[in-house]
Structure formats: C-alpha cells, structure tokens
C-alpha cells in the first residue's frame, strides 16, 4: 500500500531529466525530495500527479495506476509554483470548487488558517502576491481531503514568520491526520527536523533513499591534519573535502568499520543533511 514509483523516465528535447526513477512512499510519513535546480524534482512530482506524462514507467497508488484514474488522483494534491487556479476567482469560491471536485473540504480549518496567515478570502487569486499565492495553496494543501500531499517549493515567497507558522501547522496537521507529505525544497536546514525520510535526486537519479536518521548516521566529517585524515579515510566513500587553515576535512558517506584506528589528531563529527546534500550533489556533478 502507498505510492510506488516504478521505472519513471522522462526527457525534454532529447535531454534526459529522469532516468529510471524508483521509490516507494508509505502512508503516514513526511518525505523530503531534495535536489539541485534542474534535478527533475518538479518534473517527478508533476508526473506523479498526472499533470504531465512520463516517457515510460508507472506510478501506482494502492496498486492502481494514477494515470487518468479519478479514484487515485482524488487522493493526491500537488501544490506547486505553477498557478493553475483561475486568476479572476475569489479565494472563498476556490474553496467551494475544491469541495466540489474533492468531495469535501474543511472550511473551518481553512478559514482559521487564512486568519492566522492574514489571507483575505474575499480577494481574487490573481490579485495575490507571490507569497500569498503560496499561502493560499498551502491552506488548500492542508485542508483538502487527499491522503498524499506533494509540496513543491511550498515556502516560495514566504517570509520567516510565515515559514515558521507553516512548519508548525504542517506538523500539527500531520499529527492529527497522518497524511503523507512529500516536500521538495531548497531550504534544507529549515525542514531537516520535520522530515522522516529523504530522497536525494541528482541528474535524474535517486542517489539517496532512506530514513533521515539512518542516512545521517552514515554521514561524517573526518577532520585533522591532511596526512592523518587521508590515511584514516583510505578505502572510505569520500564525497567531499574542505580545508580550513591547517585543518583538513573529508566528508564521508558510509559506515566506518570498527577495525579502523582513529589517530589522536583526527576527529569524527556528524554531518548535517544540508552538508551531506551539498557534498553528494557536488560529487555527482564532478562525476558527470
């Protein structure tokens, strides 16, 4: 059960954007979909929500293909940068349309969120600023009765206060509804604590697919004099290097075996998700 993404491939103008992407989303988890600009995150989410077509592969929801199936598509909501709502329609009217198409809508919750974010529901969608368009779409995303919510750059144009409020409301919503969220964003540091599972997409391929805790357990910064660090790291998966004065640091992704003797001059620290992401994607970039 859940969503299965199987062998998705997509090219635009002969340029491969996604090559054989496979992963699964279990119900009731918050996922992060991370990748550099142009990595294919938005394309992947658009394919999963059946907005565009893949060249090959399939997306299954509870075993049924989401492609052109109301039953499955009604369980998915994709909030993206693209504005697909009619510009001349008032927000309160769009709430009604959402109810009409999704079958139900929590007006009280939507109005409560609109109050908290300071969104005027009598305003027309086209008159909203970039930030408020994001807020409006986030409100729909949190209130719509779909089980799988895809948030593509959800905090686009939001100031720090609104971002903070969004994270709080997202967690509150998650605890109450146990919906599945997949969040694609560039602001990794801000969402690390929210995510349970992470996918890192690089050059159209998933290079990391794991629970955040497990992934970070294997991410290290080995620091010290260069020779000692290099000796210690021999045979390990070094994904990046850094120099700060005489201190040299190697970023390593993978398990450190117990037989390895750690010199007194060398320290081992944990890497955060953002550092891991930057080093991994840089390494992949260099490989290409």
């Amino acid at each position: 059960m859940g969503i299965e993404v199987k062998n998705i491939q997509k090219s635009f103008n002969k340029k491969k954007i996604l090559s054989d992407v496979n992963f699964e989303l279990e119900p009731g988890k918050i996922y992060g979909l991370l990748g550099r600009n142009g990595a294919g995150k938005s394309t992947l989410l658009s394919i999963m929500a059946n907005r565009i077509f893949s060249d090959s592969g399939n997306v299954l929801l509870d075993g049924k293909s989401v492609f052109d199936l109301d039953e499955a598509l009604g369980q998915i909501y994709l909030m993206s940068e693209r504005n697909l709502y009619p510009e001349g329609t008032k927000i309160e009217k769009i709430f009604k349309l959402t109810e009409l198409f999704y079958g139900s809508f929590n007006y009280d919750y939507a109005n409560e969120l609109a109050d908290k974010f300071g969104l005027d529901v009598k305003q027309k969608f086209g008159k909203l600023s970039t930030g408020y368009r994001s807020i409006f779409k986030l409100i729909i995303a949190l209130t719509v009765p779909a089980r799988y919510i895809f948030l593509d750059e959800p905090i686009l144009g939001l100031d720090a206060n609104h971002r903070e409020l969004f994270y709080r409301e997202l967690l509150d919503n998650y605890v109450k509804t146990q919906k599945t969220f997949i969040i694609s964003t560039h602001l990794i540091e801000e969402i690390t604590n929210i995510l349970e599972h992470v996918f890192i997409l690089c050059h159209g391929e998933i290079v990391i697919d794991g629970d955040v805790e497990d992934v970070l357990k294997k991410a290290y910064l080995i620091a010290g004099p260069q020779k000692d660090v290099d000796d210690y790291c021999r045979g390990l998966n070094i994904i990046g290097k850094e120099n700060l004065g005489s201190i040299h640091g190697n970023y390593v992704y993978g398990n450190l075996d117990d037989n390895r003797i750690l010199p007194d001059t060398v320290s081992v620290e944990r890497m955060d998700l953002q550092k891991l992401f930057v080093n991994l994607t840089n390494m992949e970039e260099t490989k290409k």
Partner: protein, 263 residues
C-alpha cells in the same frame, strides 16, 4: 451511470458555461441596440427594441456563442487536473454539459421564434433545413420533427467540432499557436489563389467538378428536376452524425494527451 465526480464536473461546466453565455448575451443585447443607435445618427427616438429583436436570429447566434466557449478547454483542464480530476472525466463532463447547453439553446431559440410576433410565430421560416428538405415527407408534422432533429444534431456537431479544434490548439504553447495561425493564413491565401487559377485549367476544372458532385451528394441534391424543399434529407443526417462521431472520438483522443504546458 455517472460517478459522483463526473456529475460534479458536469455541473461545474454546465453552470460555468451558462454564466459565460449569460455574459455574452448581455453584450449581444447591448450590441443589438448599440449599432442601430449609432447608424441612426445617435437618435434615441429611432431606436426600436422590437426591430432589433426581429433581426436577431437566436438559434444561430447561440450555436456560434456556445461553440466559441467550447473552443477554450485548457484553462478548465488546468483547474481540474489541479483538483485531481482525470482527463477522461474532463472529456466526458465537457461533452455532456456542452451537448446539454447546445440542445437547450436551440430549444430556447425555437420557443423564442414561436413567441416572437415578428417571425410570425414560426421557427420553420428561417430554417435552412425546412427550406431545402421541409417537404420531403408527406406529413407536415414529420417534416417539422425531422427539421427540429436536424437543428439539434447539426448545432451539436458544430459544438463538438469546436471542442475538437479547441482541444487540438490546447496542445500547443502560445508561441506555437501564433506560428500555426500564420501558417494556416498563408495556406488559406495560397488555396484561394490555387482555386482561382485552377478554373483556367481543364484538368483542375474536372477536379472541381468532381468536388462539386461530391458536395451535392453529401447534401442530398436530387437533381434539377426535383423541387427545392423535396430533397432527400438522409445524406445530411448521415454526414452530420458521422462528423459528430469523428469529432467526439477525435476530441477524446486529443484530450487524453492534455498536459500542463511550460509557458
């Protein structure tokens, strides 16, 4: 049997199209009064609502307006795909709602014609079908019934054609559409030029003659010895129904390929 979603989407299209149609009709009434007022030298005394109504062909106007609205599918598609509605439901609801509005529009036009004293309480007078095929059957009631059926079928086919053409254009970006319009315009000019030149060439004259014969066949032309009004309406019905089926299947095939464009 329709699902709850299909009913919701059909209702949405129906109401939304009626709203647009109402807006267009307001403009229609305004322009029906505005132009006579302008051409009468801005004299209010010379302006007659009755004469404006007399000259207004409600049926064809509604058919054109509804077909005009049916041309534009992409914005509705954007809203519906955002709300988890499949292309199949989108297509089905669009066809059903526009068919209903098209038929309703023509029935209203007939009622208006029956109530309008300037049209002598008759819709048959202005019906091209009734003029050409209206005496084919021995019974007047049968002729009128077939005339009514033809109006409903033909306007529905025009509307289905508009949905199909509109959906084809929805596949292209704005930039591509501009190039296509330029291309079609150039092709049109070349075609007209070709036709005018072709009449001077024996071989081409034969081709045009054959096309003319085919056209006669499709409209049920019975020959010079058969009086206009008594032509056989079978072929126009067959042609209209076949065209409708092609447009229906064509629009489905095209809408299955709808996707959110990068523009």
């Amino acid at each position: 049997m329709m699902t709850k979603k299909e009913i919701s989407v059909t209702n949405y299209f129906f109401k939304n199209t009626l709203r647009k149609l109402g807006y267009m009709l307001v403009w229609l009434v305004f322009s029906s009064l505005f132009f006579p007022w302008v051409f009468n030298g801005f004299e209010v005394e010379n302006l007659s609502v009755n004469s404006a109504l007399k000259n207004t062909e409600v049926g064809p106007i509604l058919a054109i307006l509804i077909s005009g609205i049916a041309l534009f599918s992409y914005n509705d598609f954007k809203l519906l795909i955002q709300n988890g509605i499949s292309r199949k439901t989108f297509w089905k609801a669009r066809i059903l709602s526009f068919l209903a509005i098209s038929i309703l529009g023509q029935l209203i036009a007939i009622v208006v014609a029956l109530l309008n004293p300037y049209t002598h309480h008759s819709w048959q007078e202005n019906s091209l079908y009734m003029q050409v095929y209206g005496k084919y059957f021995g019974s007047t009631a049968m002729n009128s019934f077939m005339g009514l059926c033809f109006i409903l079928i033909s306007t529905s086919v025009v509307m289905l054609g508009a949905i199909m053409v509109g959906s084809i254009f929805s596949l292209f970006t704005k930039k591509a559409k501009v190039y296509i319009f330029i291309g079609l315009f150039v092709m049109g000019v070349v075609f007209i030029n070709w036709i005018s030149m072709a009449t001077q060439n024996d071989h081409m004259r034969n081709a045009i003659k054959n096309a003319d014969s085919f056209l006669h066949f499709t409209i049920g032309y019975g020959g010079a010895n058969i009086q206009v009004g008594k032509w056989n309406p079978a072929m126009p019905f067959v042609v209209a129904i076949l065209t409708g089926v092609v447009c229906l299947l064509g629009s489905y095939a095209v809408m299955k390929r709808f996707k959110i464009k990068n523009e």
